[in-house]
Structures are given as C-alpha cells and as structure tokens.
Symmetry: C2
Subunit: 172 residues, 2 copies
DNA sequence: GGGGATATGTCAGTGATGTTGACATATCCC
DNA sequence: GGGATATGTCAACATCACTGACATATCCCC
C-alpha cells in the first residue's frame, strides 16, 4: 500500500536523493583541506601561498599560457592574479615572453627553478592521491566515499567518521 | 633486460607512481571550487560567507557541539570562529545553551531558521554529488577521475579536460 | 574554600587573497 | 588613424585566517 505521493515516479534527472549526502559533503571538505595542506607547508618556506601555487601549477602544466587563459582557468580578477604573478616573476619562478604572432600577449613559462618547485608540489599531492587510490576498492557511491575518506590524513579519519555518524541519535 | 635501477623492488608503501597524477590534482581543484560555489551564491543573500556555512553545517549536524569540539573540527583559532559565530547568533541561526554537567561550556544548537538554511545548503551540495554519482561508473583510478570530473560544472568540463590533456604535446 | 586548570569571550594588529573601479600602455587590425 | 584588445597598475575595500594578550566564569582538587 503506497500513497500517491510515495508512488509518483521520479523525474528522469532529479539528482535529489531522499537523504542529504552528509558523509560525502563532509568527506569532500576534509579531503580538500588535507589535499591543499600538504603543499602549504612547503610553500611557506618560499614565502608563497596557495595563490602562487595555483599560478605556478597551471603555468608549468601549460607552458606558453597567456594571461587571459590563466585568468579563465583561475576565475579571479587580473588584479588578484597580477599580485602573485609579479612575485613569481621577481623571484624567478616564472618568466614572460612576448607572443610570437600577437606581441601584446605575455606568454608565461616556468623557469627551471619554477619547474622544480611545481614538480615538487605535484609530487606531494600525487603521493596522497596515489595512496588514496591504493586504499580504494571502488564501486559506485560506497567506493567514492572510501576514496575521499582515504584522502584524509589517516590520523584524522576515525574522528571525522565518528562526527559524521550521529545519524542514529535522533531516533531514525 | 633491465638495469639495476629499474629492477629495484618498490618499497611496500611508496605511494609515488612513476608519473604525477596531474589530471586528478586538477580535477580535485575544479571540483572543489564548484562544490563550494553552489552554496556561496545562496549565502551571499544572507550576508554570510563560507566560514558561516561551515559553522552552521557542523552545528546542524552535531547539535549540542561545544566550542572546543567545533574548533577541533574546523582547525581555526577561537578568534576566527568567534567572529562568524557571533554573527550567526545575532542573526538567530544558532543558539547557545549552558552545558548540563559543565556549565562553562556553551553548547551550540541550530535554531529552526538555522536548520532550514543548513538543510537548504546541504540539499544544493547533495544535488551536485548525487548527479556526479549517477554519472559515474566506478572502477579504481579511472572511476575516481570520472567521479571528480562529474563534480565539475558540465559547461566547464570540456575546457578543463582540454587544458589537462597537453600530456601528448611533449613527444611522450 | 582557595587556587590552579579549563572553557569561553574579546580587543588589537596583521597577512593572504579575493573584489570593484578607474586609468595607462602597447599592439592589433580594419 | 582609430577603435578593439591584452596587459599593467593604483587605490580602496571585504573576508577569513593568524598571533598575542587579557578577562570572566566555572570546575575540580587539595
């Protein structure tokens, strides 16, 4: 016996499950925090922040990138970009060359020093991801949860899980 | 025929693959940006920011939370917490009650209004995750990539992929 | 019951990163 | 030659983090 409400067929692309996916929401938050936390420790020693990391990363990955393209990727204003980019240029981690066809453009390239730092930071983040992948069995939602949980510092994981599993205390 | 270097057995828990996992690094960055971007638009209408969202979320999820426990979860200073918490209290989204056993504690609870906002924001993020899960086939690394790519705004995804797939241009 | 530890609140200053708005310069292209 | 485009820069401001210092209330132990 079902009410009409319970019986109504779900729209094709509803994407709203019956229950909020609190676990995944929180796992994503914690996983990202640790994901950016790794590079943060290194960057501090260079007097750089996350903003510098993002710029260096995308310049390293897309050598010859224009300012406009970089702004497109980062979705920040040119004033915000300019501040960190200027520091990367001054400290010799990135260099500019005039565009070949369009000389208004400033094509961005990593210097050897910049390349080295970018690779170093990528290696750090890769390690965390690689470990997470190793620890992940993978199959649908349960698999995604396991993957993101594995992205969190092992020492933190139990606490996080405990905090998220209060579902059973409101009598459900 | 392998050199000694190539033959050396990998340490048990190395977690460093031969190649950096650039795709996953970038997908994680973009996915998180969109994940927090959804709530941002709503929060703006209330004069709140991401910091308020995080506090409201964890108070809603863990009613009766103490300040100390909240600081532990968020890993920020009490001064940082206090500013946003005060606003949530003043605007009536969170309320404090003295601890039952320890009256020094300020137990935090969402008000009905706070609960409503928290649920609304969770619903938004749940929708994105749910859609991503639906679009994900899941099996090991390839599955994780697909999952995170699906977390990115559909309109953005092709661009992102294009920018990340420059691997083949350096002759490899 | 006095006193140190604990939980929380608050003031003041600073830093990193983002924003808007306005304007300058160099180059491109019709 | 002149408008559009790519970039650089100055100034002011918002958010959210930090450190350091200090105040208050309550707990708990000797």
């Amino acid at each position: 016996m079902q009410t009409a409400l319970e019986m109504r067929s779900k729209p094709v692309a509803d994407h709203t499950p019956d229950r909020p996916l609190y676990d995944l929401i929180e796992l994503f938050f914690f996983a990202y925090r640790d994901f950016v936390g790794d590079p943060d420790r290194i960057l501090e020693q260079y007097g750089f922040g996350r903003a510098h990391h993002r710029v260096l990363h995308f310049v390293d990955r897309n050598p010859g990138l224009t300012i406009a393209a970089l702004l497109d990727i980062l979705r920040i204003t040119k004033q915000s970009l300019n501040r960190v980019l200027k520091e990367l240029l001054e400290k010799g981690y990135v260099e500019q060359r005039a565009g070949l066809t369009d000389r208004r453009q400033r094509l961005l390239y990593p210097t050897p020093r910049g390349k080295a730092l970018a690779v170093d930071l990528a290696r750090l983040q890769t390690q965390r991801i690689a470990r997470a992948l190793e620890e992940t069995g993978l199959d649908a939602e349960a698999a995604a949860k396991r993957f993101l949980a594995a992205m969190i510092e092992p020492a933190e994981r139990p606490t996080v899980a405990r905090l998220s599993h209060h579902d059973d205390e409101d009598g459900a």
